[in-house]
């Protein structure tokens, strides 16, 4: 029996079927099987990220792999637990927009920070050269 059919049945039984006609787009009922599958995938990914952290992959790669795994986990939570896949596409657009601005924010801050590197180096060497009493 499909999910919506199951739901229709329940609603019919409780005499509340009049509201289901148009709410599918805004309220999708997730199946138990999918929910548990997503959960198991999240647990497996957590174990994977711990296991990978114990292997030396060379400078940036441990970090990159950890972030990719975290992002896949975040994607699973957002898509299924937060039912974004069944929502209006506009919500997805908003979500991606927020990520874009986060990346811009971090990128610009890092860039700005490295611009100031010479003055920070000068400050630190001045401090070590003449330590304050």
């Amino acid at each position: 029996m499909t999910e919506s059919a199951e739901r229709q049945g329940t609603l019919a039984a409780t005499g509340q079927h009049q509201i289901v006609a148009d709410d599918h787009a805004y309220a999708h009922t997730i199946s138990t099987r999918l929910m548990v599958a997503v959960y198991l995938a999240l647990v497996v990914l957590t174990v994977t990220t711990v296991a990978v952290a114990r292997v030396e992959l060379g400078h940036p790669w441990n970090f990159v792999v950890a972030m990719v795994i975290a992002s896949v986990k975040a994607g699973l939570v957002v898509a299924f637990f937060m039912h974004l896949v069944w929502d209006r596409k506009f919500n997805l657009l908003l979500f991606l927009n927020a990520i874009l601005f986060l990346i811009l924010f971090l990128g610009l801050s890092l860039n700005d920070r490295s611009e100031y590197q010479p003055s920070i180096d000068a400050f630190e060497s001045a401090q070590t050269a003449a330590p304050t009493p």
Binding site: E6, R7, A70, V78, L110
Partner: protein
């Protein structure tokens, strides 16, 4: 998201600037407790999503069970966090001015387990420094304050020489900022990175703000539980459960990133 973005930004800049501080600091965090908390939070996200389903389908009893499970798991998360925090308080691993660790990174169990040779070299270096100071005292007693460097330099043990030539022993110490470069001189002592306390400032602010969100989530779930028992929710009206769950998933999302960023640095 914006709230945490500032902290993630602070993290990114400090990590780019001083990676050794993060290598140093994470030796003090127990990935087992962090990992357990990750699983607990993921499970609570499952029960939260399940609660939404139950509300939509009008399964009231199951809805109550799922909300209670979510609250219990949230308390479990905070319990483990409490254990972690009290360990840090005990060991003087506090942010800013209060930072006074009772143990150095190379003395921790996790460092010993991961880099046995480097931990051995650290002990040798410390022992050598102690014997050097003793030799200096003796020399000063003999020759007065004018004792020269040469008179106060004891012989370097053979084992220590071997370790100094082994990159497997030196590199991990360079990574945590304990020595400046692999060609360390025997008489140089071990250092703690200058900005080591910043790691714990970042750690406490990020996990603390996250913890506050967990507490807020518990309050929301308790409120939802009361309304569920009062019979407010059903297939016709489940918005608050849905929004509560959305918030809860967001708390989970933040932790999904915090866990590898703080506990799994390498």
């Amino acid at each position: 998201m914006l709230f945490f973005a500032g902290l993630f930004c602070a993290y990114t800049i400090y990590r780019a600037e001083r990676p050794e501080v993060f290598n140093w600091g994470h030796q003090f965090l127990d990935w087992r407790l962090g990992g357990l908390n990750t699983i607990i939070l993921l499970t609570s996200s499952l029960t939260a999503a399940w609660a939404v389903r139950c509300a939509q389908l009008g399964y009231r009893r199951a809805l109550v069970i799922n909300i209670v499970a979510t609250i219990v798991l949230a308390f479990g998360f905070l319990g483990i966090k409490y254990v972690e925090y009290s360990h840090k308080f005990h060991e003087g691993l506090l942010p800013g001015h209060h930072f006074a660790p009772s143990e150095e990174a190379w003395e921790t169990k996790s460092f010993h387990a991961k880099h046995p040779l480097a931990a051995e070299l650290a002990e040798e270096l410390n022992g050598y420094q102690a014997s050097q100071e003793k030799a200096k005292e003796i020399a000063e007693a003999h020759y007065g304050a004018k004792a020269t460097e040469g008179q106060a330099t004891p012989a370097v043990p053979r084992r220590m020489r071997e370790l100094l030539r082994n990159p497997e022993a030196t590199q991990p110490l360079v990574d945590i900022g304990a020595i400046r470069n692999p060609e360390v001189e025997p008489q140089e002592g071990l250092l703690r990175p200058k900005y080591a306390h910043v790691f714990f400032s970042i750690y406490f602010f990020m996990t603390g703000l996250h913890g506050i969100h967990v507490i807020a989530g518990i309050i929301v779930w308790l409120w939802l539980l009361r309304r569920t028992i009062a019979g407010h929710f059903g297939p016709k009206f489940f918005g608050p459960i849905d929004f509560g769950a959305l918030y809860w998933h967001l708390v989970d999302l933040i932790w999904i990133y915090l866990f590898p960023l703080l506990y799994l640095v390498s």
